[in-house]
Symmetry: C2
DNA sequence: TAGTCCATGTAAGATGTTACATGATTCA
DNA sequence: TGAATCATGTAACATCTTACATGGACTA
């Protein structure tokens, strides 16, 4: 059995990146601070303990880097269990609560689709995502319609911004599904 | 001096809602679970301790509700210091890091603009927000352009989704600024 | 050789999650 | 009177933030 629940989004971001190629804690920090994956913290107090936990759970394994001179550094690689656990997380069903409170996590799951799962999984994910958006957006619209009269302007605008964001996501799923389909054809 | 840092977004969400009208912990939980402000947790283990901390800091004050029969419940109201602290938080400058990692918090700040600050503050906020978006979006586009070749399709699509989201926000600031302007004229 | 970057870590503190618990009140 | 809902709480646990610390290696 897999030891614990392994909640944290950061942990999965680390697993995904390590799955792409072997990386050290420092590499991961640099990645978070220098690419658009900046939404994750590059603080050592978050990353090094997280790597420890992943190693203790047997999802990654670290070994001293022997290349070059060189400075002491530990390169981490995914274990078979780590890869399986990542896939399990990626393949979970998409529920309303994911769309409402964890869009970032959904995007992270999708971002590593090609490396860990196949084109079919990617398509399945996008369709499920689109489906949840299609049931959530009307609920937001209904709430707006029945409350807009007694909402302050700023509150109403903030809500509208949220709705626009979800509608943009919805349109994105259509584009993404089309991209996956044409990718498949080109093979 | 204000005792502590008072980081948590949840704490400010509570302050904002209590500022609108006196509410109990249960009211707040219901609000989070039944409106689009669902991004906040409605769990008692988060809300009741947070209310305690706010009361201990002197930002809210609770008193037993005497209306009706009735069940014991504590109604919280903002204190003058609570209102001032909320305004301080709302009025902080908007920096790149807010746009990159704390859009939700920015939206929360804006959502309560009308109740806590004036139309001028709202406009100022929107312009600063727009400005930060205008400098961030090109950076994302540059990153995409120079990395798209060696990115997997899913990763590239995830990044594009992020960019689309920020572009939607940018267009929203224009709409919101226009709405504020016409609101001012109508007065 | 002095400063900067590489590379990893720890400690204190705050916050949030999950799960459990408790009683009172309303309603069927 | 039994079930559902109101209303508040606590305990254990994990995680993250902030700040500090260390030492080796490169470079000017």
């Amino acid at each position: 059995m897999v030891e614990k629940n392994l909640n944290s989004t950061l942990a999965f971001a680390l697993l995904g990146l390590i799955g792409d190629e072997a990386r050290s804690g420092y590499d991961l920090r640099k990645f978070f601070s220098s690419t658009p994956m900046t939404s994750f913290s590059d603080s050592p107090g978050a990353i090094y303990p997280a790597l420890r936990r992943l190693e203790r759970s047997g999802l990654i394994r670290g070994e001293a880097d022997s290349r070059r001179g060189s400075r002491r550094r530990t390169l981490f690689r995914l274990t078979a269990r780590g890869r399986a656990e990542f896939r399990r997380w990626q393949g979970q069903p998409i529920v309303r609560d994911d769309v409402v409170r964890r869009v970032d996590e959904l995007m992270l799951r999708f971002a590593f689709m090609d490396q860990f799962a196949g084109r079919t999984s990617g398509l399945k994910f996008l369709k499920a995502f689109q489906n949840e958006l299609a049931t959530y957006i009307p609920d937001l619209r209904i709430y707006l319609r029945s409350n807009r009269a007694h909402m302050p302007l700023s509150g109403r605008l903030a809500l509208e911004s949220g709705i626009l964001g979800y509608e943009t996501l919805y349109r994105w799923t259509k584009v993404a599904i089309a991209a996956y389909r044409s990718k498949g054809e080109n093979r």
